[in-house]
Amino acid sequence: MPDAYQISLLVFIGIYSLWGWSQWLPIRSGVLLLGQAGLIAIGAYVSAVLTRNGVPFPVALIAGSLAGAVGGTLMGLSALRLPPFGTALITLSESQLIQTFLSNFEPAGASQGIFGLPNATNVWLVWGIVLLVTAALARLSSSTFALAMHAMREDEVLAGAMGVNGRQHKLLIFALSGLVAGCGGVLYAHYIRNVAPELFGFAVLLQISTFLFVGGRTVYWGPVVGAAVLVGITEGLRFLSEYRLLVYGLFLVLVMLFRPDGLVTASTARVISQAFRGWVGREGRRTERDSKSAGVE
């Protein structure tokens, strides 16, 4: 039976995976969204205000996630006209804007934040949601939507010429990213049981990017692998816990240097999936479309 500490690690891996997906989705469509910290903060704060005022947690969870989605859509609207780098910069600035706003906004506790939230998040809820998102993403990865994402990443103009509505598509991606981030924010806030502006700063972006880019950004379960590997490494080597951020940073630099596509790349994923199919005893058939949609950037 795992003890309470191990369970808390599991919870964090789940929450970090949700955060990681909110960056994975845009990156798979060639959009560099760096505003996750802000979106997570929106979800966390909205739900915190609600539950503090006696609203039941499930309602707050839905409201927080939707608020994240609205925030994501707004970020998307502001970034539509900008080239990739511009998108990265404006979303990063907006995330900082949200953080500085919250740290000055008295009704939300200013830099103190909000304390004493109910302890509503547990491991079953988190992993239930993670499995739900996994199922949705697995379903998504064999849809025309995934093909459109792939086309947009390779060449946005060409994708437009082939009939992908870039504007609509991008906004949907931003909204979904915000939804996942907001949901992750609600779960996080009700696990650590307080929210404060400094929890949603640049360090969060750093963490998310590390999970995603270490794990691998070409397959949808990359963020889970990244979160599990990094949490595992720092917790497995207890004496490293004081140097957690140093380890994250070094790991990110080294992975970028020696394995720029992350630990799990499209080809590793293919090897694993074929081995798995062989083991189950079914013929591992791959259509041409599959191998293309698993292509590397």
């Binding site: 502001s78 511009g86 404006i90 600035s93 750093l206 990017s209």
Partner: protein, 293 residues
């Protein structure tokens, strides 16, 4: 009126530091086409090295020169060991590498200052004497900061326009492939660019330490983000825009802190960037954004 003149002066001093920081960021972008998010951490390194030298020697000029050279060395080492090898990869890879560098440098800074608490610059480099220029009170440290910033900007302008290195760097910023075909040694020039950037960051860091008189390993984050703010405002890769934008940001921050509610100054600068990007995606000085890919 006197209060306003004082605030404007303070804003200019702060703006000098922002301008130096933003210049380094924009230079890396112009030459190597990636946004070095760990740039603020180079400034932080300058502030910490400066702290060490100031504590040992107590000499302001040694501190400035030593801090600048040490950070220049650090920047070149970083370029040679990491950034060099990802130059031809997708633009996400060097960007994320610099994100990793942020926490590596911050954590090393934290370990060097042990618990990472703010450390004061020694009094010997901090002379308390202030004097009046017209209605405005300034300290020698502030004048030194302004002079160092101005001198470095003029020097940078001369290097970029009059020297062969500057020519090569400008050629690389226009078209890396053609510059290489014409015989520019891209590896050496990348190191040269990082050396210059290191010098600028080192001086900015020491000046930051002198003005705020305490430093900690966490000053890099806000500084780096402000540099990003300035660089966007000025148009990515636009050197003169970065100088002007840095001064302007210093003014905006000091004035909005003084005359609007305190604490909201930082928020206004971010709001400003968002509005600038929405209204005019290529920045105020309108460098063609096609470059920014």
């Amino acid at each position: 009126m006197q209060a306003l003149a004082q605030q404007v002066t303070n804003g200019m001093m702060l703006g000098g530091i922002y301008a130096l920081t933003a210049l380094g960021l924009t230079l890396v972008y112009a030459v190597l086409r990636f946004l070095n998010l760990a740039h603020g951490e180079l400034v932080m390194a300058g502030a910490l090295v400066g702290l060490g030298i100031a504590t040992l020697t107590g000499n302001v000029f040694l501190t400035l020169v030593g801090g600048a050279l040490a950070v220049a060395l650090l920047a070149v080492v970083l370029e040679r060991t990491t950034f060099r090898f990802v130059r031809d990869k997708s633009h996400l890879v060097p960007l994320m590498m610099s994100v990793g560098m942020v926490s590596v440098l911050t954590e090393v800074g934290r370990l060097l200052t042990s618990p990472g608490r703010p450390r004061p610059y020694p009094a010997s480099v901090q002379s308390d004497s202030t004097f009046l220029i017209g209605p405005v009170t300034v300290s020698p440290v502030q004048i030194l900061t302004l002079l160092a910033a101005a001198l470095l900007m003029v020097l940078l302008h001369l290097v970029m326009t009059r020297s062969k290195t500057g020519l090569a760097l400008r050629a690389m910023s226009e078209d890396l492939r053609i510059a290489r075909l014409l015989g520019v040694d891209a590896d050496r020039m990348a190191s040269a660019a990082f050396f210059i950037v290191g010098l600028l960051s080192g001086v900015a860091g020491v000046c930051y330490g002198l003005i705020y008189s305490t430093v900690d390993p966490y000053i890099g984050g806000p500084l780096g983000i402000k540099a990003v703010v300035v660089v966007i405002f000025a148009g990515l890769g636009n050197m003169y825009g970065a100088m002007f934008g840095g001064l302007l940001l210093g003014l905006i921050e000091v004035l909005s802190n003084a005359y609007l509610a305190p604490g909201w100054g930082e928020m206004f600068s971010f709001l400003f960037v968002v509005v600038v990007l929405i209204v005019r995606p290529s920045g105020i000085f309108g460098t063609p954004y096609a470059l920014a890919r």
